[in-house]
Symmetry: C2
Subunit: 674 residues, 2 copies
Amino acid sequence: MSDPVLDRLCIDAIRFLSVDAVEKAKSGHPGAPMGAAPMAYVLWDRFLRHNPAETAWPDRDRFVLSAGHASMLLYSLLHLTGYQLSLDEIKRFRQIGSRTPGHPEYGEIPGVEVTTGPLGQGFANGVGMAIAERMLAQRFNRPGHTIVDHRTFAIVSDGDLMEGVAAEAASLAGHLKLGKLIYLYDDNKVSIEGGTTLAFTEDVAARFRSYGWRVLGPLDGMDTAQVDAALREATSSEDRPTLIVCRTTIGYGAPTKAGLNVAHGEPLGAEEAKGAKKALGWEHPEFTVPPQAAAHMRLALQRGAAAMQDWNQRFHAYRAAFPAEAAQLRQAVHGELPPGWDVGLDSLFPPDKPLATREAGSQALNRIAAKVPALAGGSADLAPSTKTLIKDGGDISAGAFGGRNFHFGVREHAMGSICNGLARHGGVIPYAATFLIFSDYMRPPMRLAAMMRQRVIYVFTHDSIGVGEDGPTHQPVEQLMGLRSVPNMVVIRPADATETVEAWKLAVARRDGPTALVLSRQNLPVLDRSIYPTASSVKHGAYILWEASPDPDLIIIATGSEVSIALDAAKQLQAQGVAARVVSMPSWELFDAQPADYRERVLPSRIRARVSIEAGAKVGWERYIGLDGGAIGLSTFGTSAPAKDVYEHLGITASHLVQQAQAVLHRLQRAKVS
Amino acid sequence: MSDPVLDRLCIDAIRFLSVDAVEKAKSGHPGAPMGAAPMAYVLWDRFLRHNPAETAWPDRDRFVLSAGHASMLLYSLLHLTGYQLSLDEIKRFRQIGSRTPGHPEYGEIPGVEVTTGPLGQGFANGVGMAIAERMLAQRFNRPGHTIVDHRTFAIVSDGDLMEGVAAEAASLAGHLKLGKLIYLYDDNKVSIEGGTTLAFTEDVAARFRSYGWRVLGPLDGMDTAQVDAALREATSSEDRPTLIVCRTTIGYGAPTKAGLNVAHGEPLGAEEAKGAKKALGWEHPEFTVPPQAAAHMRLALQRGAAAMQDWNQRFHAYRAAFPAEAAQLRQAVHGELPPGWDVGLDSLFPPDKPLATREAGSQALNRIAAKVPALAGGSADLAPSTKTLIKDGGDISAGAFGGRNFHFGVREHAMGSICNGLARHGGVIPYAATFLIFSDYMRPPMRLAAMMRQRVIYVFTHDSIGVGEDGPTHQPVEQLMGLRSVPNMVVIRPADATETVEAWKLAVARRDGPTALVLSRQNLPVLDRSIYPTASSVKHGAYILWEASPDPDLIIIATGSEVSIALDAAKQLQAQGVAARVVSMPSWELFDAQPADYRERVLPSRIRARVSIEAGAKVGWERYIGLDGGAIGLSTFGTSAPAKDVYEHLGITASHLVQQAQAVLHRLQRAKVS
């Protein structure tokens, strides 16, 4: 039985903690917390199954604040329900080193499931979480033993719903009939430029119905009874995802700003804040939590403890009945890999015949997938080309989440964001595949994966002008450099099948961030590892593959499909009396992370005659070739023709490399003489 | 009165030109042309108002093949209706230097309105074209003188409709009630991975109705009568955009591949092609166009000539009645700028008080907009922050296209793609504004703008960690480098208000590609141009701003907000006895385009002691600082705190710069000694 007075006290406590924090920070978004506090309160008080004292409980409900700018709403809830977030931290909102940054950041604050802020991302992350839950449920639950069974809730804003990524994810969520996915739409009719009538007049409810969602409302999102009833209905059947349209007033209570865009993104100001408190009958000093509100909200700790105790008992029984499964669940949830998962991969590829690295990647993926059951993923409708199907892995589809192959549709952006949700949920090691060129469609989630340090594996095939006939719209140029410049992203562009295996191993083993595997469409010679050093050096990012002399005149640095061109050129140079060293550099990031002496050994400072070759943008290669070197690569878009012709046309050839090398040597010689 | 036999002959001519070209190229997409030929034929034969002999006729209908992989469909139509595309070119499909690249490329082929291939883009481009038409109509038509009055048609695929960018654009098209926008949806139920049931089971018709579109069908898209009737209905009223759902069979006629994904992206093979010809009763040698089909299709030339003659007469009358408007229309359509449009901008900003470059940009934009009526744009719901409103410019909204301010909603991706459509239509010089971080949401259309050499201006504010409290999700790091690596993109990050004016002038004047203006949120000192050289040097990309000596020991290269930090540091170094030169480098691309001697003057090869400073990713700066220099910048994400604290925390400070400079000098000194 709810107590309306107490409810209101709690809701206002959320509101004014938010308002006070924004005022103190002199920066932030007070409007959304003021309008959305009632729905958030009802959800957290009556529906969300969580344990503030144990944030890693695997069967907790997930909550995503997709409208991340309303961060103070979440921080207020976390503080009030007993998470490790003190009032002092709330007072340090948006200050250096605080646990209360401007937007919720995963890793900073216990209880924040996912970093949000860029709109639409949280929406799609939640879809990933809901899929992960179903996958683990199907994999681990047994008759009479339901140990994976939780919901994913989110609060989403009109901004989220305008973003294409949310549209893509919503269509997929409907397709997959994710019945445990429940989103509250904070429909406040206000966007930054003014009313949503300026740009957003579609029938949102009808749109979501067209995706196969249940749509409830519109209801008064500030009426707890109405929100309660809708959440009750949403949780009562699980045949499809639910959107609850909640009409709210942004900046509710603010005397002159309520309902207006000016309440969105800046402090109310002292007067207006005072007016809001007066209007809502809030007579406490700043940052006050009335004891009754505190006591009531902290009941979440008791409920959480009880729920977890219940789950622990059930898990105990499960473990007794299914010890192997219980151990596997533990392993999956902790993101651990089974012992020996990477054994026997090294000798996959004898140098018999050329192989595209996408094909080698396919074999590596399949070998690893056979040992690592958590590995699952798919492509944005390109699996036959990206070669990323797990054979006999089964498809993921509505009602059938035991499979391991996703069909994301032509939805790269949602694919990336859903993978973030899968990774953040845990229990799944996701990979996302598409052509390298279409990585452009999914940059925002890749950045967030890097920021959240999530193990998401990107498989980007068709990695250069080697795409050939499909032409410039499909030939990546600047994408490699674009990926390399993302902090904490590891990009690996293997030279051949043997390096591809190592790249896959590194990607799966890496636990603190995403890895992009950049693979060729075209066949490449397989380097004979009885002649060349072991491919395990991929982990060092770059290594000496071949040299005409231990004291070479020149260093050629190459990646991916251009490594074999570099070898050709080096041997031609040798015939011309120039001793070249060929460095295979599959990964800048891994190389840059090596100790200085290793880097110095591979690229000695004294050797300034350096030429890079990569069938991508030249810009940036000065990092390794300096001001004196030469770069073979592109500064224009590609062209449509058979791959060989395109390489020739754009000068990505051994003869051009030889010529460039001679020019560099000549220039340096001249400089020395003069 | 249509002749079914003749129609069928023409349709099959389209089909088998496509099939033959793909077979000959041994690469391409035969399936879509075979299924979509009937709808394309009906559209081009009976509805599309165009003149194959005069592709620049401004009042032509626009046709977009959003499903760009079906390029042979379009090339067949172009060839058959009399565009300058010979049969020999068709035979050179996908070969080097041909006018028939794998995907339609603007600029290569007369009649290709826009480069397509990356899915969803063409859909959104069409929306931009339809908006441009309405804008010009409202600006130039006069009672009794309707000189702008054309439609935008497209063929779109399921892949297009899955992409979020199309969803965003569709919502906006419905919002704006673009009644002259008519899309044929080639609903063949097949995607690359298999049937669309794998991933795409939403109710497309209901979704488009929710956006405010008229949806016709589903109908048999291979029945010319049904397509004809639907197009008739679509063109009969103009109250909202129309989607015609046309069920088709991919690879129609192919004996074993029809209706299957294997018909999509590879040649049918000789046997299958033969079988298809047999099945459809096509008994001609390869690359044959039956004379009756040729004669009929080439009637487009007559119709086009007549339509243009009619229009020319009307334009003549218009010009007589409204000479000034006619001259302006001509100017707008040709993308010319009125004489004196850039006069008087130089002295806008005295060095009185600090000013954010976004604010200076706002003033520059408004001054230019007052003289350049074609300049129009808006932001993805951030105008109050990006400061990109044209004052008194009026809003663009349904039925009111006389305004100049777009409200794109929180739809960065569609904004970018719509701007491409506006630019490609002509008559509008579009700008698109958002925070720099959200440029990540619109990378695909930016790339296409660069590839198509279109004048699109991006206004990216909040350009660094200077964003402050909003934290890492909102603080760009890698975005600058990401933009710089796009071929033919000019990126300008001005140091202050005076450089901002120059940057805006360059962006508006540039006719052969897009320009990204990268502007600060925070106030920056305005450089006193009575002390420092003129800001007009921005056009050289980089220039010597200040130096302690004409023969300096060290060069500091800075951009944007870090230029004033560099000046501080240089003066501190002077006090320490180090003569530094400060180079302001607002644009890499413009600098790289200077003659070698200019570049050598600014960055003499002999001076290897160089330090760069930019509040963005460090990686890439080696281009100018080489292997011996030092970079002040970021290799991690930012943090949430007031901007000043973030700068301090991440070491983007004059004292760090001084320290780095001394370290570089020391290192070089040591290297020289040893």
